[in-house]
Amino acid sequence: MVSDANAAEIERRRLEEAAADSAEIDRTPVRTYWQLVRQRFLKHRLAVIAVIVLIVLATYAIVVPTVTGDAWRETQLFRDDAPPELFNEDGDLTFAVLGYNEQGQNLFARLGKATQTSLTIGLAAVVLIVMIGVFIGSIAGYVGGWIDNLLMRFVDVMLSLPGLFIILMITAFFGQGNVWVVIIAIGLTGWTTAARLVRAEFLSLREVDYVQAARALGASPQRIILRHMLPPALAPIVVAATLGIADSVVVESALSFLGFGIGRDGASLGTMLQNAREYFFSGPLKVLYPGVVLILIVLSASFLGDGLRDALDPRQRVEK
């Protein structure tokens, strides 16, 4: 080889070159957890479409009833089963693009009101579900011991009850036609999944390495809970809540369909379907509109839930 001094020089130069290469490659941008979550979510075409659909439906549910006011329940007997129109004879804008039902009610307006009712009840019920579920689940998971045992037996009992039937009982006995009764009934029976999820998360999080590490580093309990335990615990809750919305809306619709929910006078997707059923032969299309809206809500919430699940915790993916 060349002389020692030169060799060392050449050596150093080559090492520098090599280091420069490595540094270049390592200069990948660092992203925060939430940025990664958003990035992963946006990759899900279906989930993104689902969000758009839900926004459209929510807008429909908010705008139309506000704009049309009482049109959804205004019966105009001379307008029974009238065809779609934008303006009536007087020149007023009715925007009855879906026509009228047998009682002369503006179907478009009615559908808007129905969507509003169903979505509101669904959301309210989910809020209740999450509240109860997180409460019970966190206690069970955090405290453990016999309290955990007792609570889980309770969950077992709740799961053994025929869910829909119990809700039927509650709404029938305690106040037919009362929106709040419906919400409470759905909430009281639907929290079990959320509770289990929270409990599972808290149980495993107590022992997880990075929590132990944080404790070893002297982090305060608040910091540990807020920064280390809550984000992973929230993920399954958010997913369960999203899917729960679909579920609650369906339950409410089923209730109203069977005549138990908000009563025949109210407008929900369920009552519209019940109405449509009675007039199968005369108004065949009436069965389509509320059904399509309902399916859209359920599918969107499902895809949204899937997208959120993958975005928040890609480890959970079972299949590609």
């Binding site: 080889m1 050596e11 080559r14 090492l15 070159e17 090599a18 290469d21 490595s22």
Partner: protein, 354 residues
């Protein structure tokens, strides 16, 4: 039982094998132009870090590559016959009969719902015309051969009732029950404790002598290689970077990567402040450097390394994919050579029959 005539020449010849994976993010060249041979009864150690392509090479030999991977080029000659050209049905006859394979994770490599004996007997019955009774007896016999105590009882048990070491022995028994010419062992001891590891290697050594069986031993553990291998192939990022008999590889390695690997083994007889490492990390297969794949981490790096290095014969039966001369000096064409000049030099130095 295998009835292949002992073919003149190497048992297994891999020539220019290329196995690529076509993923959403790009093409991963897991195995890129790999060539080596194994002779009858020889043990070849294939060494390299995770992701260097050694497992994919072995799976390619067995033709067990699934989507999105595909063998795109090359030949795999077993006793002179190209396995890559065979029909599926014929390949299945070869698999498990002339060439057997054992895998890394004994805990999950056996089917949990069938007994150990059944699984071994199944291999026997697949390739030989024997009755169920005979296959079962053979299974028990093989289990004894690999050193499982109380083999008869164990044969009727399910995998979860056996320890990790015993399961790996069952795997070996299953692989050897058809008396293969070649055993491919992919990291057979990595998942086991050191003491069990020693036992398993003992079993393998025993059997290869008895059956005149060749072994392709894939591992990242240089200790295992030193114990078991006759010849060694070192792989990096999908290519063979060095090949020689085991003594040469450990005594006088040529390629900087091999040297780095050997230097990084901690020694009990030296006091050091810091352990030696190879700087940097394995390049992402989607972002490979031009020229020599090791250049970013190589302490001997030169300008000429931006051109793909030659695969030289640096000693008798000793090959290395590097620009450095056999003596370890700058190449004749010069340390700063580039472009056509460098390419021509590489072409000239590269050995044809590798």
């Amino acid at each position: 039982m295998t009835v292949t005539e002992r073919h003149v020449g190497p048992l297994l010849e891999i020539k220019g094998l290329k196995t690529h994976f076509f993923t959403q993010d790009g093409v991963v060249k897991a195995v890129d132009d790999v060539t080596f041979q194994i002779s009858h009864g020889q043990t070849l150690g294939v060494v390299g870090e995770s992701g260097c392509g050694k497992s994919v090479t072995s799976l390619s030999v067995m033709r067990l590559i699934d989507r999105p991977g595909r063998i795109v080029a090359g030949e795999v000659l077993l006793n002179g016959e190209d396995l890559l050209a065979k029909r599926d049905a014929d390949m299945r006859d070869v698999r498990g009969d002339q060439v057997s394979m054992i895998f890394q994770e004994p805990m999950t490599s056996l089917n949990p719902v069938f007994t150990c004996g059944d699984q071994i007997a199944e291999a026997v019955q697949q390739h030989t015309a024997v009755s169920r009774r005979e296959a079962w007896d053979r299974a028990i016999e093989m289990m004894r051969v690999v050193g499982i105590a109380d083999a008869k009882r164990r044969a009727g048990e399910h995998p979860h009732q056996l320890s990790g070491g015993m399961r790996q022995r069952v795997m070996i028994a299953m692989a050897l029950s058809t008396d293969p010419d070649l055993l491919i062992a992919d990291e057979p001891t990595t998942a086991l404790d050191v003491t069990i590891q020693a036992q398993i290697l003992e079993v393998m050594r025993d059997l290869r002598t008895k059956n005149r069986m060749a072994i392709m031993l894939i591992t990242h553990d240089l200790g295992v290689v030193a114990e078991m291998a006759d010849e060694v192939v070192v792989m990096y990022a999908g290519k063979v970077v060095e090949r020689a008999d085991v003594r040469t590889v450990f005594g006088t390695p040529h390629h900087p990567y091999t040297k780095g690997l050997l230097l990084s083994i901690p020694r009990l007889d030296e006091r050091v402040e810091r352990l030696e490492v190879i700087k940097g990390t394995v390049p992402s297969p989607l972002n490979l450097p031009t020229g020599c794949l090791f250049k970013r981490r190589c302490p001997y790096r030169m300008r000429v390394c931006d051109t793909a290095p030659p695969y030289q014969e640096v000693g008798p039966g000793h090959f290395s994919r590097c620009w450095l001369t056999p003596a370890g000096e700058e190449p004749a064409v010069g340390a700063d050579a580039t472009g056509d000049e460098a390419e021509a030099a590489a072409e000239q130095l590269t050995v044809e029959t590798r």
